[in-house]
Amino acid sequence: MNAGQNTARRIASKTGSSICRSCRETISRNAYSTAAAATVTDNHTEALLNHIPPATSPSTSYGVQAGVVLSRPPVITRDLHPFESAFFLYQRRLNERLALPFTRYFYFKKKTPADLEWKRKIKQRLTPARDIGRYKGYGDEAWNDELLVGAPESDVNWQVERLLEDADKPAAKDEHNPGGEVEGLVQKDKVERDMVEKPMPRVTEADLKGDVKSLNRMLQRTLYLLVKNKEGKWTFPEDRLAGKEALHDAAERILVHSGGINMNTWLIGRVPIGHHEAKYPTAKSNELGLKTFFMKARIMAGQANLKDNKLGLADFKWLAKEEVQKTVDGKYWHSIKNMLAER
C-alpha cells in the first residue's frame, strides 16, 4: 500500500492550468542536491518530449453521481461441491491408512471412563477418525476400503451427526457394562448423555419464506442492497455529488439519506470500485449523460429503513449476485457485474 507519494489526489492538487500534468510533476520535483543541475535539465527536456497539452474545460460534459454498493459478506461457510466433499472424504480415509497409529494412552489413561468410552467407539468404527465411517486399513480385507455408491458416509450431514454424537459425553458411566455391545444398552445409554448443542440450520426462516428484505437470508452469499428509485428502476443507492463533495463523503451521505441512520456501515477505501455511464437520449443543456461511480461499503449491523428517505426511494431488497442480474436492466448489469463477488 504505497499510498505515500504519488496519489492521484496529490498529483491533481499540484497541477496548474498552464502546463500538462506530467510536465508539472517532473519539473516540480526537487532533485537531490547532488548533481541537481544535471538532472533538472535532463528531466525538463524529457518532459517537453512527453508533453500532453492541458485539457480545456469542455462545453458539454457528463454529470457525476456517486453510488454505494452496500453489501453483507457471507456469514457461514459455503456448501461444498459434491466433488470437493467426495475428494476430502477420500483423502481422510486414505489418511487413516497412512498416518502413524493413534497414541491412545497419551489421550486416555487406562481404566478411566474416557478410556472405556474410547474402547466402545473404536470397536464400532475401527478407526480413530470420527466422521469417516467404518474403515479398516489393515488385515485381510484391507483392500475393501472404498465406499460403495449411495453409502450414507458420503453425505455431509451424516458426517456432522457422527461428530456431534462423538462429542456427547456420558452423563454417568456404568462400570459393569463398559462395552455397551447390546443394542438396548446403547439406546439406554444415549438417553443418559448430555447432548451437545446442535449447530443452527444453514437455511433460515427468511430463506423459506422468500423474504428479500431480511439480512438473514442466503447466509452463504454476499447480499447487495438494491433500491427502487423515482423512475421505478432498481439500482444501487445513488445521488448526484453536491458541489465540491468528494466521492466518499457523498457515499456516506447517500447511505444516511437512503437507508436511514439505523445502519452501522463501513465505507471501504476512498476509491470507486466501478462506474456506470448513461447517455441521455436527447442531450440536455451542456450535459451529455450521467456517470455513476460506485463506492464499496459493508453493513455491520442494523437494517435499511426507507421511511422518509431524501432520495425518493420506494422499495429496497437484499439480493445475491444472480438475483441482482434478474432485477436490474441489461446495460446497468453490464457495468456492475464485474464488481460483485461471485460468492
Partner: protein
C-alpha cells in the same frame, strides 16, 4: 504370403480412391482452425453418465464376491514399490511423483476447506484490494525512474580501487528493503506460512522439556515439530553448543488456516488482559511475530482436552511468526487485523 495379402491390398486400393471424398466434405463444413480439434473431443463427458441403478448398487458386495470365488485371483507379477533411495536420473527404478499415493513421500490431504480461507477469498481479499488500491490517471508516468535489476549503487570515481569492488551498501541502513509493487488483484497480501517456535531454556538440564514442547507444538499445529540444537556456547545464557534447545513447527496451507482460526477465535479471546500484538512487531518485509506465555498455550483446545497428560509446569510458551506475501509491515498488519488479530501501541513500518 503375397496371396494372403492380396485382399488387403485390393481393399486399400479401393480406399485410396474413396479417400479424397471425405476431406472435401470436411473442408466445406470447416469454420475455423479449431473446429477439427473440437470434433475430436468426445461430446459426452464421463461425469454426465448416470450412476448405476439402485438395485445394482445395493446388490454389490465385494467381500461376499471374493469369498464366493473358488480360487485366488492370479496375482500380478509386478508390484511397483518406490525405491528406498534415489539413485540418480539415469537409474531405471525411478520414484513416482510425490502426489502419487505409492510414493514414499506422499502425504494425504487436503482434508477440508478452512473457514478462514473461505472468508479470505470471499471477503478479506476484495476489501484489501479496494482499501489499498492506488489509482493513477491514464497516461501517468512516474517521474521517479523505476528501478529494475540492480538496486545497489556502484562506486563511481577515478580511483583505480573502484574497479571490481563489491557494490555500495544501500542508503541509510544495513539492509535493502523489499520493493512494493503497485497493488493489483494478483498481489493482494495473503498468509503464506505460520512458524511456531518454542525455545525452552530448561531443556539444557532436563531433556524432558524439549519432548513436552515438541508434543505441545505438534498437538496445536498438526505438523511434525523439528528440534534445533544450540550452535554456540553462550555462558551468560547457560547455552552449550550441540544441546537441543528449541523446537519449530512450520505450518502451511490448510493447517495454517486452521491454526490461525483456532488462535483468533478460541485462544486469544480467552486470554485475560491481552493487549494484542505489539505495533512495532515485524521484520519490515511482511512477517509479524508475537509470543504466547505457557498458560496461554495451555488454552489451545488440543492441549486442554488432555491437559493432565502433560507434566505440570512443562508446557512451553511459544513465538508465532505469521509469514505473509505482503512486502511491508503495513500491509501485513492490515491483513492480520482483518482476520481478527488486534495490534496495540505505536505502529512502526
Amino acid at each position: 504370403m503375397a496371396l494372403r495379402e492380396l485382399p488387403l491390398r485390393a481393399f486399400s486400393a479401393v480406399c485410396r480412391d474413396l479417400r479424397p471424398v471425405v476431406p472435401s466434405l470436411r473442408s466445406s463444413a470447416r469454420r475455423n482452425a479449431s473446429t477439427d480439434a473440437v470434433q475430436e473431443l468426445e461430446s459426452s463427458s464421463s461425469l454426465t453418465v448416470p450412476p448405476p441403478s439402485q438395485d445394482v448398487a445395493k446388490g454389490f458386495d465385494p467381500v461376499a464376491q471374493s469369498k464366493a470365488r473358488d480360487g485366488k485371483l492370479p496375482s500380478s507379477r509386478y508390484q511397483f514399490k518406490s525405491p528406498k533411495y534415489y539413485r540418480g536420473p539415469l537409474h531405471p527404478h525411478q520414484p513416482p511423483p510425490e502426489s502419487d499415493p505409492s510414493s514414499r513421500l506422499f502425504q494425504p490431504g487436503p482434508f477440508s476447506l478452512p473457514p478462514l480461507e473461505q472468508t479470505y477469498q470471499s471477503t478479506i481479499a476484495p476489501d484489501l484490494l479496494a482499501l489499498t488500491y492506488v489509482h493513477l490517471p491514464p497516461g501517468f508516468r512516474s517521474p521517479v525512474k523505476e528501478v529494475k535489476g540492480q538496486r545497489l549503487r556502484e562506486w563511481t570515481g577515478d580511483s583505480p580501487y573502484y574497479k571490481n569492488r563489491p557494490l555500495r551498501p544501500p542508503r541509510g541502513g544495513g539492509h535493502l528493503s523489499l520493493l512494493t509493487p503497485p497493488r493489483t488483484f494478483r498481489n493482494v497480501p495473503k498468509i503464506t506460512k505460520v512458524t511456531v517456535h518454542s525455545m525452552v531454556k530448561e531443556a539444557m538440564e532436563n531433556s524432558g522439556y524439549i519432548a513436552v514442547a515438541g508434543m505441545v507444538l505438534q498437538a496445536i499445529t498438526n505438523v511434525r515439530s523439528i528440534p534445533h540444537q544450540a550452535r554456540h556456547n553462550v555462558t551468560g545464557w547457560g547455552l552449550r553448543s550441540g544441546k537441543t534447545i528449541s523446537v519449530t513447527a512450520d505450518v502451511e496451507r490448510e493447517d495454517a488456516y486452521h491454526f490461525l482460526g483456532k488462535l483468533v477465535n478460541i485462544v486469544l479471546p480467552r486470554i485475560k488482559e491481552w493487549k494484542g500484538v505489539k505495533g512495532s512487531s515485524g521484520d519490515d518485509s511482511g512477517n509479524i511475530t508475537f509470543g504466547l506465555e505457557p498458560d496461554q498455550v495451555a488454552l489451545f483446545p488440543e492441549v486442554e482436552v488432555n491437559y493432565d497428560s502433560y507434566p505440570p509446569k512443562m508446557i512451553p510458551g511459544c513465538h508465532i511468526t505469521i509469514h505473509t506475501s505482503a512486502t511491508n509491515d503495513r500491509d501485513a498488519r492490515l491483513l492480520l487485523q482483518s482476520i481478527g488479530l488486534p495490534f496495540y501501541g505505536k505502529y512502526i513500518n
